[in-house]
C-alpha cells in the first residue's frame, strides 16, 4: 500500500511502521488541469495536488492535512471525485498541550485507518526501530545538505521524501558564490528546484532553503532514549512540537526560526516563495521585511506554463538591486 502526501507534518515512519510505503510527493504543476477544480481563487499547488491524487493508481492512499484551508477543502474535493481512500489529518494550529494531544490522537486515527486498509498496528519496539532508521537517514541527509549546491540539496530531500535512497554518494562541495539570499515559504512543485539555478544565474547564492520542501520542515533528530521509551510521544514532539510554519498560531516559532537561521546563514536578502492565493505566506511576506531587517522579494508563483520567465526576470531584477 502506497501512501502519498505532501505535508511535512505527516511522519513517514508512522506510515512505514504500519506496513505501508510513505511517499511525500511534490506534485507536478501540469497535474492541476486533471483536478477539475475551479481556477479562480484556487491555490495552484492545491489544484496540482488534487490532480496528482486523482491520477493515482489502485491501492494508493492519499493523506491531506488541515494546515491550510485550501488543502483541507482539497481533501473533500478528492473524496467527491475519486474512489481512492483519503485521510484528512487534523494538524492543530495552536501550540498548547491539548493541541499536541489532538495531534497524537490523529496519529492513532491514521494508524487505525491504515490498519483497516490492510496495514498492521506496530509494537512499540517496531515503531522505535522504524523511527530510528528514518532518523538515521535524515541524519545522513542533514550531513550532506551542507556540501550540496542548493538545487541538488532540494532534489536529494525530494528523493528522501519519496522514500527513495538519496544519491548522497559522491556528493561534493559545490556551493555557489554570489549574493547570499535565503528562500523561505511554501512547498515546491516537481521541478521547481530550478528556481535555485535561476537565483545563481542572476548572481545570487541560496544560503538557506526555508521553503516547506527544504530543511526547515525536517523533524528534529530523535532523542534515542525517549524514542525507545515512548516512540509515539517522541514523534509528536519532533514533528508537531518542532516544525515551524506559517499556519501556526501564534507563529512565534517561525519568527524565531527565521531570525536564528538568517543570522546563521549570513543572508543579505530574503525571497518568499509562495503561490498566488496563498494567504498564509502572503501575510508572512508582508511582515518578513520588518522581521528580518532585510530586503524582501515576495515571489508569487502561479505554476502556469510560461510563468517561469516572469519569475526568473523578477529574481534577476531583485538581485540587480542588491548588487
Amino acid at each position: 500500500m502506497n501512501v502519498v502526501y505532501s505535508s511535512p507534518f505527516v511522519p513517514p515512519e508512522w506510515i512505514a511502521a504500519h506496513g505501508a510505503r510513505p511517499e511525500r510527493i511534490r506534485p507536478e504543476s501540469g497535474a492541476a488541469t486533471r483536478s477539475m477544480a475551479p481556477v479562480a481563487g484556487m491555490c495552484p499547488y492545491a489544484r496540482a495536488m488534487i490532480g496528482e491524487v486523482l491520477a493515482s493508481h489502485d491501492g494508493e492512499v492519499a493523506v491531506f492535512t488541515t494546515t491550510c484551508d485550501q488543502m483541507r477543502r482539497a481533501a473533500g474535493w478528492v473524496a467527491l471525485e475519486a474512489p481512492a481512500p483519503v485521510f484528512l489529518f487534523n494538524v492543530p494550529a495552536t501550540h498548547a498541550t491539548p493541541a499536541a494531544r489532538l495531534y497524537l490522537d490523529e496519529l492513532h486515527r491514521l494508524g487505525r485507518f491504515l490498519a483497516r486498509l490492510g496495514g498492521s498496528e506496530p509494537s512499540r519496539d517496531k515503531l522505535a526501530a522504524v523511527s530510528e532508521s528514518y532518523d538515521d537517514r535524515r541524519r545522513q541527509l542533514r550531513d550532506a545538505l551542507g556540501i550540496l549546491a542548493p538545487r541538488e540539496a532540494s532534489e536529494v530531500i525530494a528523493e528522501c521524501d519519496r522514500n527513495e535512497r538519496p544519491r548522497l554518494q559522491g556528493a561534493c562541495c559545490s556551493l555557489p558564490h554570489g549574493i547570499p539570499v535565503a528562500v523561505i515559504g511554501g512547498p515546491l512543485m516537481r521541478g521547481d528546484a530550478r528556481v535555485f539555478d535561476w537565483i545563481e544565474e542572476a548572481g545570487g547564492a541560496v544560503v538557506l532553503d526555508g521553503t516547506e520542501s527544504g530543511a526547515r520542515t525536517l523533524p528534529t533528530p530523535f532523542d534515542r532514549r525517549r524514542l525507545r521509551d515512548d516512540p509515539v510521544l517522541e514523534i509528536v514532539d519532533a514533528y508537531f512540537g518542532r516544525i515551524p510554519d506559517a499556519f501556526r498560531r501564534p507563529d512565534d516559532a517561525l519568527v524565531a526560526w527565521l531570525r536564528r537561521e538568517l543570522a546563521a546563514s549570513g543572508a543579505r536578502a530574503l525571497i518568499i516563495w509562495r503561490y498566488v492565493w496563498c494567504d498564509l505566506w502572503a501575510a508572512f511576506a508582508a511582515r518578513a521585511g520588518e522581521l528580518a531587517g532585510l530586503p524582501v522579494l515576495d515571489l508569487d508563483v502561479s505554476g502556469d506554463e510560461g510563468a517561469d520567465r516572469r519569475t526568473a526576470n523578477r529574481l534577476q531584477a531583485f538581485l540587480e538591486v542588491l548588487r
Binding site: P38, R73, L88, A93, T94, R249, D279
Partner: protein, 460 residues
C-alpha cells in the same frame, strides 16, 4: 401607525422617524434619522432601499450605533471583549458575565461598503501588505491601526485551526501590531468513525465525542480568561442563564425567518433580514435590546402576514442565498430583479440553531462551536443548504462569493454540485466586491437570468 409595506429611500425612512418622534411615540434613545450616519461618512446608506416600518427604523439605528455603544461601555468601565472568527460562540460566554460586552472586530468588513471606501481601511491594510487578494475582512486591520471605529478591546480571542486562512493571517498581523490574542483551537469537524462515540450537534451534523471534549477544553481556556477579565466567576448557573438568553434571540430569529422565508407574500425585504440575522452572532453589543429589536420586527412581519401585505411581487423568484454580501446594495438588487429571499446560509447557521439547554452549558457550547458550517467539510455545509432550501421551498440557490476568501474557491463548486444533484434547481455563483457599483450591470444580468430561469421553470 399602519403603513403600507414597501421599500423606501433613506430620506423617506428618516421622515418616518421624525414623524414617529413627533407623534410622541416612545423610542429608544439611539433611534434617529440615518442621515446623521451619512454625515459621519456612511454614504452607502443613501443608495439603499429600506423597509418602511418603525421596526426597520429601529433595526437600522441599532446596527449603526454599535460603535457608540462600545465607546460608551468603555467610558463606563465595562470590559470589552473582541471575539474574532468563531461567529457566535464566545459572545454567549461573554454576555453571561456582568459588566462585559463582546463584539466582532470582523464586523469592520462592512465599513468600506458603508463608507464607500472613504474610510481608508483598505488602504491601511494595503500598506500592511494585505491587498485585494485577501477577503474584505482585512478592513479590520485598518480599524485596529486608525482606532477610528471600535475601541481596542480589553481581551481579544480568535479561533484558529479549521478557519479561513485569510482571517487567520489577518488576525496574526493584528497580534504582531501589539494586540495580544487568546488563540483557541477549533478542529476540522469530521464524521465519527465506527469505533467512536458519536455526538449529535445542533443543526444536525455529528462529530466524535472526542472532538467535542477537545473543544470544550478549549472553551474552558476562554472562560478562564473571561473570568479574569471580569473579576467574576462564570459558573454553570451563569452560563445556563447566558445560554437561555442567547436562545431567546435564536428563537425570535427562527420565527422571523420562518415567516419571512415561507410566506407567499414576502413580508420583509432581504436587506433587513440580513441585518436581523447578523444580530444573532454578537447581539450588536446589547443583548437585551437585540431581543426587543427582533420582537418589534417579528411583530411587524406577523401583522403583514395576517393582513397578507407583501413588500414584493407575489410571483418573486424564491432564492436561497449563501454567504453574506460585502456590498449591502446587492440585497436590494435581488429584489429589483424580481427575486426574494427564501432561506439563507450566511456562514453562521450554528449561531441560529438553538443551543441545547438540557446539557451542561460548556458541553452545549462546544457542540455549537463544532456545528459551525465553516469548520466541517464543504459537503456538510452543502447538505445543510439542501435541507434548508428544501424546507423554505427555494427555487434557486445563489452562492455569493467573497472576493479573496480562501474557502470560496472550492466550496462554491461543491455546494453547486450537491444542490444540483439533490434539488435539481438552478445554482449561480457570483462575486460581490465591497462596493459593487461598477459591477452592477453584470450582477444585474446574472440575477435577472436566474430569476428568468426560475420563472420559466414554473411553466413546466
Amino acid at each position: 401607525m399602519n403603513l403600507p409595506p414597501e421599500r423606501i429611500s433613506m430620506e423617506e425612512l428618516d421622515l418616518l422617524c421624525e414623524r414617529r418622534r413627533a407623534s410622541g411615540a416612545s423610542l429608544p434613545a439611539y433611534v434617529g434619522p440615518l442621515r446623521r450616519h451619512v454625515a459621519e461618512g456612511d454614504r452607502r446608506l443613501l443608495r439603499l432601499q429600506y423597509d418602511a416600518s418603525p421596526a426597520a427604523m429601529r433595526l437600522w439605528s441599532f446596527l449603526l450605533t454599535e460603535e457608540e455603544r462600545l465607546h460608551a461601555a468603555r467610558a463606563a468601565g465595562v470590559k470589552i471583549v473582541g471575539t474574532m472568527k468563531d461567529l457566535g460562540t464566545v459572545p454567549v460566554l461573554a454576555y453571561a458575565l456582568p459588566n462585559v460586552v463582546a463584539f466582532y472586530p470582523d464586523g469592520a468588513w462592512w465599513t468600506p461598503c458603508l463608507m464607500e471606501l472613504s474610510d481608508g481601511l483598505f488602504r491601511i491594510a494595503q500598506l500592511l501588505g494585505f491587498g485585494e487578494a485577501f477577503c474584505p475582512v482585512r478592513a479590520m486591520l485598518g480599524a485596529f491601526v486608525n482606532r477610528a471605529h471600535f475601541p481596542i478591546p480589553d481581551l481579544l480571542t480568535c479561533s484558529a485551526g479549521a478557519v479561513c486562512d485569510d482571517f487567520s493571517a489577518i488576525a496574526q498581523c493584528v497580534e504582531s501590531l501589539g494586540h495580544p490574542i487568546l488563540w483557541w483551537e477549533i478542529p476540522h469537524r469530521r464524521p465519527p468513525e465506527p469505533d467512536e462515540t458519536a455526538v449529535e450537534l445542533p443543526g444536525g451534523f455529528s462529530a466524535p465525542a472526542s472532538q467535542v471534549a477537545f473543544v470544550r477544553s478549549e472553551l474552558d481556556r476562554v472562560r478562564s480568561a473571561l473570568e479574569v477579565l471580569a473579576g467574576a466567576p462564570l459558573g454553570a448557573s451563569e452560563l445556563a442563564a447566558g445560554v437561555a438568553q442567547a436562545n431567546r434571540v435564536r428563537r425570535s430569529l427562527a420565527e422571523l425567518r420562518r415567516l419571512a422565508y415561507t410566506t407567499e407574500a414576502c413580508p420583509m425585504p432581504a436587506l433587513e433580514m440580513l441585518i436581523a440575522e447578523m444580530l444573532a452572532i454578537h447581539f450588536c453589543s446589547d443583548q437585551a435590546e437585540t431581543i426587543r429589536v427582533l420582537a418589534d420586527l417579528t411583530e411587524e412581519v406577523r401583522r403583514r402576514v395576517k393582513e397578507k401585505h407583501g413588500v414584493l411581487a407575489e410571483d418573486a423568484a424564491r432564492v436561497f442565498w449563501v454567504n453574506p454580501v460585502a456590498d449591502l446594495r446587492v440585497m436590494n438588487l435581488l429584489e429589483d430583479c424580481g427575486g426574494r429571499l427564501a432561506g439563507t446560509e450566511f456562514l453562521f447557521s450554528h449561531a441560529l440553531d438553538p443551543i441545547p439547554e438540557d446539557l451542561p452549558p460548556m458541553e452545549a457550547l462546544a457542540r455549537m462551536a463544532l456545528a459551525d458550517p465553516m469548520v466541517g467539510p464543504s459537503t456538510d455545509r452543502a447538505a445543510r443548504i439542501v435541507r434548508d432550501a428544501r424546507a423554505f421551498r427555494a427555487e434557486a440557490v445563489l452562492v455569493s462569493r467573497i472576493p479573496g476568501a480562501s474557502h470560496c474557491a472550492l466550496e462554491g463548486a461543491v455546494i453547486a454540485r450537491v444542490v444540483r444533484e439533490e434539488l435539481a434547481i438552478p445554482v449561480v455563483e457570483m462575486e460581490v466586491p465591497p462596493v459593487a457599483d461598477s459591477m452592477m450591470p453584470t450582477l444585474r444580468s446574472q440575477l435577472e437570468a436566474l430569476v428568468e430561469t426560475v420563472l420559466e421553470r414554473r411553466k413546466r
